[in-house]
């Protein structure tokens, strides 16, 4: 059966096409494109992706408006039912604002917009999204953000680390994130938010393919399930 993925587009999303191309490249099936104002998601989705960009112009706080858009109610319900959800960059911000992941993404400590490829260390190699990597493996993935500075209180950070929910850390902290955190999982492991862009590292023309294993592993696992 064809792999049924949805990519949500908010006003101001700008990585939705890259995300759709990455998913199609691996799955062989183009994802369904869903608009933020749609009342509900298509049925029987295998995978939902929230792309990067600047939804609603980052008004109020990055991701805050998108987190309250009509489609996100539907995304929350699917996530609670176990449908895998990947949020990248602005998608990560939306997931924290929607309460699907703990913490918040604040302005980079340097105040600068950062756009370059960074080294990430894979922390958790047991999740749907990360088991194509090995724990401790260093991968090169691009970042492009102004608000990527991950913040949570110490209690939450201890919990995330204790439960193995830190998916990736920056080898060199580029944005001030607490404990170098670049990506976190929810308790059930079906929701991943990360600031770096794996969809921008899936073909040689991108300068590297270290993001490919994330999509390959998740999609292969879901298709064979």
């Amino acid at each position: 059966m064809a792999f049924r993925a949805a990519v949500i587009t908010f006003p101001g999303s700008n990585c939705d096409r890259d995300m759709a191309v990455a998913i199609e490249r691996v799955s062989g099936t183009a994802p369904i494109r869903v608009w933020h104002g749609d009342a509900r998601l298509p049925e029987d989705l295998d995978f939902i992706a929230l792309p990067g960009g600047f939804s609603y112009g980052d008004y109020l706080r990055s991701g805050a408006m998108a987190a309250n858009s009509p489609i996100m109610q539907s995304v929350k319900r699917r996530a609670e039912r176990g449908v895998p959800v990947l949020g990248v960059c602005n998608g990560f911000q939306v997931l924290t604002e929607a309460g699907l992941l703990p913490g918040a993404l604040m302005r980079n400590a340097s105040q600068n917009f950062i756009c370059r490829t960074v080294a990430l260390k894979v922390e958790n190699d047991r999740s749907l999204f990360t088991s194509g990597y090995k724990a401790g493996q260093i991968i090169d993935i691009p970042v492009a953000h102004h608000d990527g500075n991950y913040f949570a209180d110490d209690e939450t950070l201890d919990m995330l680390e204790g439960e193995g929910r830190v998916a990736f850390r920056y080898v060199e902290n580029c944005n001030g994130s607490q404990r170098d955190i670049a990506g976190v999982l929810n308790a059930e492991g079906n929701v991943l938010g990360m600031m770096p862009h794996p969809e921008r590292a899936v073909e040689q023309a991108h300068g590297g393919t270290d993001g490919l294993a994330l999509f390959e592993n998740a999609i292969k696992t879901l298709v064979s399930a």
Binding site: N68, G103, A104, F151
Partner: protein, 77 residues
């Protein structure tokens, strides 16, 4: 009824904007500025009789991100 919602970063949360403005003030020669924290002021015009619980709910659900921010509701006459 006019409402002002003051949103501020919680104590202990790093405020890079505030730090940059602090440095800029020092650069302009203003001495004795101990700290700068930048927040947000949101002005609402709501129906008379809107209760405090509804206002708090607005803050909790949207106007403030309570992981990192505190809010204070001020009623303006």
């Amino acid at each position: 009824m006019k409402i002002r919602v003051h949103v501020s970063l919680k104590p202990g949360v790093l405020d890079p904007q505030g730090r940059a403005v602090h440095h800029a003030l020092e650069g302009l020669g203003f001495a004795g500025v101990e700290d700068v924290r930048i927040g947000r002021l949101i002005e609402l015009d709501v129906a008379d009789g809107t209760d405090d619980a509804a206002l708090a709910d607005m803050c909790e659900k949207l106007l403030a991100h309570t992981v990192i921010e505190n809010y204070r509701i001020e009623k303006v006459d």
